[in-house]
């Protein structure tokens, strides 16, 4: 009896560094930002309650729509393509060949660096006249676009850049692949199944839990794309790379309209939440759980 109580007290004690931090730095700010979103809160000194007027204003704000569209565009292409690329690379790197570990290292390398340095590198790679990408295209006799200077090609350019960094997700899939029991493949071979059949009937179904996890995390991550756009394009040309968080940053930390930016943040939160719920709700249709068999 006494021991159980002691365990409970220590349980609370040891979890408290996180719990207190959670209350102060997450729970409270989340509520506080909802409150601020109802104010005209402009630094330094304007604080006035205006009800839902920020939300109304956002509804008619063409830049908000542009930002939401750009972010959705980026997410819809970058997330599925990223997942497909990671799975393909993971399948290739899962082959039992001599020296495969060196190849794994190479494929993973782009995912190791992030942020400003990568953005600067790709700014150079995508340079229309002296960049590597258009040089490679010219070897194939293709005249490359002007990428980041063209509103049509700026977003695809950033998507290609994100695919180069698929190595991070690839590792997750590699881990997933290595957990698939070898006996399943052996049994299928005895039954005369070919590789194609094995992939669709064994590999892919057993990877769905991994796909599910990486889908949720990738959607959340892709809605927060910021550094690439900030460094490489500043949102241009013609706002074609004005992504949601970049717009939020401009409103909150360049024109210091904190109320407006908070309302933007809450809309982002709701959008991400709804998407996550949709993924969760549909998951029973396509995610395979071994526990169901038991």
């Amino acid at each position: 009896m006494k021991e159980i109580q002691r365990e409970e007290i220590y349980g609370y004690l040891f979890v408290s560094p996180w719990l207190i931090g959670y209350i102060l730095f997450i729970a409270f700010p989340v509520v506080y930002s909802l409150v601020i979103s109802l104010y005209k809160y402009t630094l330094p000194f304007t604080i006035k309650f205006t009800g839902f007027s920020n939300y109304k204003e956002i509804f008619y704000d063409p830049l908000f729509r542009t930002a939401l569209y750009n972010t959705a565009y980026y997410t819809i292409l970058a997330v599925p393509l990223g997942i497909i690329a990671s799975i393909i690379i993971a399948l290739i790197l899962n082959m039992k060949l001599k020296g495969i570990s060196y190849f794994r290292t190479i494929y993973y390398m782009p995912a190791v660096i992030s942020g400003v340095a990568v953005s600067l590198l790709w700014l150079v790679l995508l340079d229309p006249s002296s960049g590597l990408i258009n040089y490679l295209l010219s070897l194939l006799h293709i005249r490359g676009p002007v990428w980041l200077q063209d509103p049509k090609w700026a977003k695809p350019a950033l998507i290609i850049m994100s695919l180069w960094q698929s190595g991070g997700n690839m590792i997750i899939y590699l881990a997933g692949l290595q957990q698939i029991p070898e006996q399943l493949y052996e049994a299928a071979t005895i039954d005369g199944a070919n590789s194609w059949y094995k992939f669709w009937r064994i590999t892919l179904p057993l990877l769905t839990p991994t796909i599910f996890l990486s889908l949720v995390l990738s959607i959340i991550g892709s809605f927060q794309i910021f550094t690439q756009a900030y460094i490489m394009t500043g949102g241009g040309p013609l706002n074609s790379t004005l992504f949601y968080v970049l717009y939020l940053y401009q409103k909150g930390f360049q024109s210091f309209e904190m109320g407006y930016a908070s309302a933007l943040a809450w809309i982002l939160f709701v959008v991400v939440l709804v998407l996550t719920i949709i993924v969760f709700k549909t998951s029973w249709r396509w995610v395979y759980y071994e526990a169901e068999v038991k």
Partner: protein, 286 residues
């Protein structure tokens, strides 16, 4: 007999094909780095020459020295970044391992509920909390200090490292705790003396991930740090790009290489742990 040798040839052909695919992929992934390296070694007046050359006419190693020291004090930025990253790793490893211990091995009411709350923070975009945080950190006088980069991320955030460490704790048999308890060990001693040493590889994974995150962190430093003397490397690179020397792409690439270098070194040294950590972290499913 004839059939056997033809299938052997097929096997050889398939193997060759596999290696060709692997090598082409590797080249595609590596080329940008080679380009970066090549540009960082190019002479200033040879920049952006057409036709394109992957290997510059002469390798100018002095670029590195000039880029790092001449225009902006990158040594100072390096010192700042090492400081912030170091404190961050230390704090995160300490706090998360203790919290994960409580979640994994102690029984208390509300534990499962709080664990769900913890995991749900993974889905919260950081931007939702950044504005209120900015408002009250400004009031606390924390602008131009490193507290906003450290305190909320060490406490409160960190769902992923806590989750990862909890998974690792679960792989250690509970008998160890029971035996220690019988010997009169306190809960803190069990955590500190018995479990923590067994957790070293996992702590390593958390430390490496923490390093990669904070070393490259850009959003928070951009918002909170505007005093040049307190800039981190990421901010320094940005200032270089946006400033009057921003057209010297060879220097910018040289600095980018140097900023990225520690990430590569750490990755090469510890890649075994990273993969292992991901495998156990993969248990997040379900």
């Amino acid at each position: 007999m004839k059939q056997k040798s033809s299938s052997k040839w097929q096997g050889m052909l398939l193997l060759t094909l596999k290696y060709i695919v692997l090598i082409i992929g590797a080249i595609l992934f590596l080329l940008p780095f080679l380009f970066m390296l090549s540009m960082s070694l190019t002479d200033s007046h040879e920049l952006f020459q057409i036709p394109f050359r992957l290997i510059p006419r002469s390798l100018n190693w002095l670029n590195y020295k000039e880029a790092w020291t001449e225009n902006y004090p990158f040594n100072l930025f390096l010192k700042n970044t090492i400081f912030v990253t170091g404190i961050f790793i230390l704090g995160q490893v300490t706090v998360c391992s203790l919290v994960a211990y409580s979640f994994a091995r102690l029984r208390w009411r509300g534990r499962n509920l709080l664990f769900t709350v913890l995991l749900s923070t993974l889905m919260l975009p950081a931007q939702v909390v950044i504005i209120p945080q900015f408002i009250y950190f400004s009031k606390l006088g924390w602008v131009n200090t490193y507290y906003p980069l450290l305190i909320p991320w060490i406490f409160g955030r960190g769902a992923f490292p806590i989750f990862l460490l909890r998974q690792f704790y679960m792989t250690i048999p509970l008998d160890l705790d029971e035996a220690a308890k019988i010997d009169g060990a306190t809960y803190f001693q069990i955590y500190y003396k018995i479990l923590l040493p067994l957790l070293k590889p996992a702590l390593g994974v958390v430390a490496i991930n923490g390093f990669m995150f904070q070393w490259n962190n850009f959003f928070e430093p951009l918002i909170y740090i505007n005093e040049k003397a307190k800039f981190t490397l990421a901010l320094g690179l940005r200032m270089f790009q946006a400033g009057e020397f921003g057209t010297y792409w060879n220097f910018l690439m040289a600095d980018s290489v140097l900023v990225a270098l520690p990430c590569f070194i750490i990755f090469f040294l510890f890649q075994k742990y990273l993969v292992q950590g991901t495998i156990i972290g993969g248990g997040l499913k379900g």
